[in-house]
């Protein structure tokens, strides 16, 4: 049996042990009592047998003495000698009554009864106890038991000498119930005399109850002589020993075992009562003790369950000064310790060590990582040029700058709006509610607040930054995805030199559609749903189209043409870009080779992603493609964004070097959107610099941007790089760029991206237009 509670276990152990000890004691007592009873009864039986023998011998000698005295009485002898029968009888009676004899007789030497107190007037007859008489004739005198007229007697026969023998005198005691009772009173044993009479067992004498007597008489076989045996009579156990008295009579001595055991039965009863009482006391006592132990333990267990559930507030109840009380006290100190440490851990877990602001974990929790949370807007701020500042002024200054930015953010936003630092130079602002206009307004406010330079050690530092805006929970199914999308929006904002971008604009469509797009991309490649469009590039100096940029399009069967901005970010995230890029390069090389075969020699650019640069198989693939198509390496240009170089600059540089060695042209894409320094670009084996189209868009409106573009062109040329401008849409812009010395321009002002098959046709049109 398994006891789940201490209480029951203690009671079970205590009571079980008591029961065990008590039962063993009882068993021992009973067992030894049995032995005592059996030994004692055997001893008493032995003593009874000796008493019996002694009494038999004693009454025999009594009779012999009496008979001898009588036999020597002169007058008696004279009466016998003179045949004076009346006198003889009277002497016999007189002596007989004096000693209490059952009968007295004078027997002649030839065995005839001459005088008999039982039959005073009877005629002479042969003596009835002829066996005893013969024994007396042989040895002079005899004694023993014999039956006469249906009654049992103990008989003694002695001679009458005068001086020669003249007769026998015989006398006998009645062996009857009173004889048996007197023996029983003397010996403490029961006695029954069993005699054979006419083939039946009769009980002529006994001290027993009528039932026991009948029970003994009904037994067919007499017990074996002189051996103590156990016998059951009327359901009572007796120790019995048989003592033969004569050939036909046997005395059976009995000792009732029940009687002998009675004393011990009282003892057993007392012991049992004591054991029961002890058991009850033990149960009560051990219950009390067990409760005394178990109650505080249960209280402690309850307190432990509360602490397990995270409730550290309720103190553990005090339960006295004993060991359990001490345990409870330590337990309470433990509770306080855990509560204090949890506070600390929580602080550490949710606080950014550098700025003291809440951290990314806090934000993720706020966004329902651990359960549903109210809707909110998340604004992620990424500082511009922080890498440059860190490089130039050192990490210590960078850290202080980040703290100051944090302070400024907190000072800028309204109370109740959370500010936290995600990592590096990324901050997040959380605003309750999903009001888009309010979120945009907040973004503008923050963006404007950062336009103000930050004073650090007397230096004015321009920070500035871009923001992405995501809404919880509309824009993502989970907090991580929301942060990813919002960060994408930040990049998009940076790319476009805008203050902010909405995450919902990045990767159109609700989240489930994005998921399905990701799933469909793989099938799209197999079904050849991807297409390569080409956007011509114009050599500004010659006014001729000398190149084109290959742009990926997805002709979705149900959604139509999908622009790259809507699926390339996911292709990069999922790694699927590694399968797209080789396909794209294969298409581009094949197309360029085909044009070359038609006499159209264009330098065609293809975009590489970060993952492509980190893929060691890229350079061998490019070599293989060029070799198999026979295209001169100089006609293939690969464009890389600044950010693509930043993840693992060493590996990226190794890949770039391999590509450069193979003769392929390399171009830095979107220059100006990121914070790559020109000093770094100088160390790269690149040939071309593409100014981000965001600069070109605002070229004509912003003098500042124009200045940036102009100085960038100058810098690029200074570093020996060809400079390409993207997003040129108007003739004015083209004219400005030509004047600024930009080498190549690309944009709607020249041509929109078009399928490869249309390029030759468009070229022909252009030529004819120029010719016109």
């Amino acid at each position: 049996m398994v006891f789940r509670s201490i209480e029951r276990r203690i009671v079970a152990v205590f009571v079980g042990l008591l029961a065990l000890v008590t039962s063993l004691t009882l068993l021992l007592v009973i067992e030894s009592n049995d032995r005592v009873v059996s030994g004692e009864s055997e001893r008493r039986l032995g003593a009874g047998v000796r008493t019996f023998d002694y009494l038999v011998a004693y009454s025999q000698s009594q009779m012999e003495t009496a008979a001898s005295v009588l036999a020597r009485d002169f007058s008696f002898r004279e009466a016998i000698a003179t045949q004076d029968r009346a006198t003889v009888l009277s002497v016999l009676r007189n002596h007989g009554s004096r000693i209490g004899a059952g009968f007295m007789m004078v027997v002649s030497l030839d065995g005839m009864v001459m005088a008999d107190t039982l039959a005073p007037g009877g005629k002479p007859r042969p003596a009835p106890f002829d066996g005893l008489l013969r024994a007396a004739q042989a040895t002079g005198q005899s004694a023993g038991f014999d039956e006469m007229d249906g009654r049992l007697y103990q008989i003694a026969i002695v001679p009458i000498m005068a001086p020669g023998q003249i007769a026998w005198v015989a006398m006998g005691f009645n062996v009857d119930d009173s004889w048996a009772r007197s023996f029983s009173a003397m010996s403490g044993l029961g006695i029954a005399v069993l005699a054979e009479s006419d083939g039946r067992t009769v009980v002529p004498a006994g001290s027993l109850s009528a039932e026991l007597r009948d029970a003994l008489g009904e037994r067919s076989a007499l017990p074996p002589p002189d051996i103590p045996i156990l016998m059951s009579l009327n359901g009572q156990r007796h120790h019995v020993m048989a003592r033969p008295m004569s050939e036909r009579a046997t005395a059976v001595l009995l000792l009732s075992l029940d009687q002998a055991e009675a004393v011990f039965r009282d003892l057993h009863r007392s012991l049992a009562v004591i054991a029961l009482g002890g058991a009850v006391l033990f149960i009560l006592g051990s219950l009390r003790l067990a409760r005394h132990i178990a109650r505080p333990v249960n209280t402690l267990a309850e307190a432990a369950r509360r602490i397990e559930a995270g409730d550290y507030h309720e103190p553990v109840p005090d339960s006295g000064a004993d060991e359990i009380g001490q345990l409870a006290a330590s337990f309470d100190r433990m509770r306080q310790g855990i509560a204090a440490r949890e506070q600390k851990i929580l602080r550490l877990a949710y606080e950014d060590g550098l700025t003291g602001l809440p951290n990314r974990t806090w934000l993720l929790d706020r966004l329902g990582r651990t359960g549903p949370t109210p809707p909110c807007a998340v604004l992620i701020l990424d500082l511009d040029r922080f890498g440059l500042i860190n490089d130039a002024l050192g990490h210590a200054v960078g850290d202080r700058l980040l703290r100051l930015v944090g302070d400024r953010l907190v000072a800028t936003v309204a109370p109740g709006i959370g500010v936290c630092r995600l990592w590096g130079d990324e901050f997040a602002v959380v605003r309750d509610g999903t009001d888009t206009e309010a979120a945009i307004a907040l973004s503008v406010t923050i963006h404007a607040a950062l336009q103000e330079p930050i004073l650090l050690d007397g230096q004015r530092i321009d920070v500035g930054g871009s923001l992405g805006i995501g809404f919880w929970p509309q824009d993502a199914a989970d907090s991580n995805t929301l942060l990813q999308r919002t960060e994408l929006a930040v990049r998009e904002a940076k790319r476009q030199f805008r203050g902010y971008a909405l995450a919902s604009e990045i990767g159109a469509g609700p989240p489930h559609e994005q998921l399905s797009l990701i799933g469909e991309m793989r099938d799209a490649l197999l079904r050849q749903e991807f297409e390569v469009f080409y956007q011509p590039k114009l050599d500004l100096a010659s006014g001729r189209v000398t190149g084109a940029e290959a742009l990926l399009r997805w002709r979705h069967p149900s959604r139509g043409l999908i622009p790259p901005a809507q699926f390339i970010p996911f292709a990069e995230q999922t790694g699927f870009i590694r399968e797209i890029t080789p396909w794209l390069l294969d298409q581009v090389v094949a197309r360029t080779a085909a044009w070359r075969a038609q006499g159209l020699n264009l330098v065609v650019s293809a975009n590489l992603s970060t993952l492509d640069l980190l893929h060691s198989g890229l350079a061998p693939l490019v070599k293989r493609l060029l070799a198999s198509s026979g295209l001169p390496p100089g006609q293939l240009c690969l464009e890389i964004t600044e950010s693509a170089l930043m993840d693992d600059p060493d590996l990226a540089l190794a890949t770039l070097n391999q590509l450069a060695e193979s003769g392929v042209r390399l171009s830095i894409d979107d220059y100006g959107a990121g914070h790559a320094s020109l000093a770094y670009l100088k160390s790269l084996p690149v040939h071309e610099l593409k100014i981000d189209q965001a600069f070109i868009f605002s070229l004509m409106e912003s003098g500042k941007d124009a200045e940036i573009v102009r100085s960038t062109i100058a810098l690029g040329h200074a570093l020996g790089l060809k400079v390409v401008a993207e997003g040129a849409e108007t003739d004015a812009e083209l004219g400005w760029l030509k004047r600024a010395g930009c080498d190549v321009a690309q944009g709607y002002g020249i041509a929109r991206p078009m399928p490869g098959a249309e390029v030759t046709g468009w070229m022909a049109d252009q030529d004819s237009a120029v010719a016109r």
Partner: protein, 213 residues
């Protein structure tokens, strides 16, 4: 001592015999195992007897709390004295049918001898000392003798004629039948007989108290 006296007595009897033409009978009695039996009476009956033959006085003494002799054989009409030689008293009695008598406590020589005038065997005891016993055989014939320690007895001066030989012992288990005895004047005749006799040591005498003397 007892035996010697007995022999002397027999010799005295023999000396009393007067018939000259007499024969001598020698009878030896043994038990079934051949052991000689003393104190057996050998009596020749049926002879013609001279009525004048004397009947000398016999005596049964009490010496050292015993009767001496054990067996006395007398002719019918003989008187026997019971002199007490012990320093204490005796009470001599007999319940035998041939001569019941009683001599109450006495010392020394009783006043009168006891006359045994009927034939038969008489057992004599002492009421004080149970072990004391003596026997008297009263016969008609004067021809009798008692066997000595060798179990033999001699009767001299027996007249010739047809007689009966009778053997008797106080402790005999069975009566021995009389047998005819024919004497034809031969000098002597020898008869061997057997009989069964109970041993005499049945009742022990306690040691004498010195103060009794």
């Amino acid at each position: 001592m007892i035996h010697r006296r007995t022999v002397l007595f027999v010799l005295a009897l023999a000396a009393c015999a007067t018939e000259a033409s007499a024969a001598e009978l020698s009878a030896c009695v043994t038990g079934p195992t051949g052991r000689p039996i003393p104190d057996a009476a050998v009596v020749v009956e049926g002879a013609t007897v001279d009525p004048r033959m004397p009947r000398p006085l016999a005596a049964i003494e009490q010496i050292d709390r015993d009767f001496v002799p054990f067996l006395t054989i007398v002719r019918q009409g003989t008187e026997i004295e019971f002199p007490n030689r012990d320093p204490l008293k005796h009470h001599v009695y007999s319940f035998s049918a041939a001569k019941p008598f009683e001599i109450k406590l006495y010392a020394g020589k009783p006043a009168a001898p006891v006359l045994f005038d009927k034939t038969g065997d008489i057992a004599i005891g002492c009421n004080i000392h149970d072990w004391m016993e003596a026997y008297v055989l009263v016969v008609e014939s004067p021809y009798f003798a008692k066997t000595g320690p060798d179990g033999c007895a001699k009767i001299a001066d027996l007249p010739a004629g047809r007689h009966r030989l009778r053997l008797w012992h106080p402790l005999q288990r069975q009566a021995v039948a009389e047998r005819p005895l024919v004497l034809d004047g031969a000098d002597s005749i020898r008869i061997d007989a057997t009989m069964e006799v109970s041993p005499r040591t049945a009742r022990r005498k306690p040691p004498a108290d010195k103060d009794d003397y």
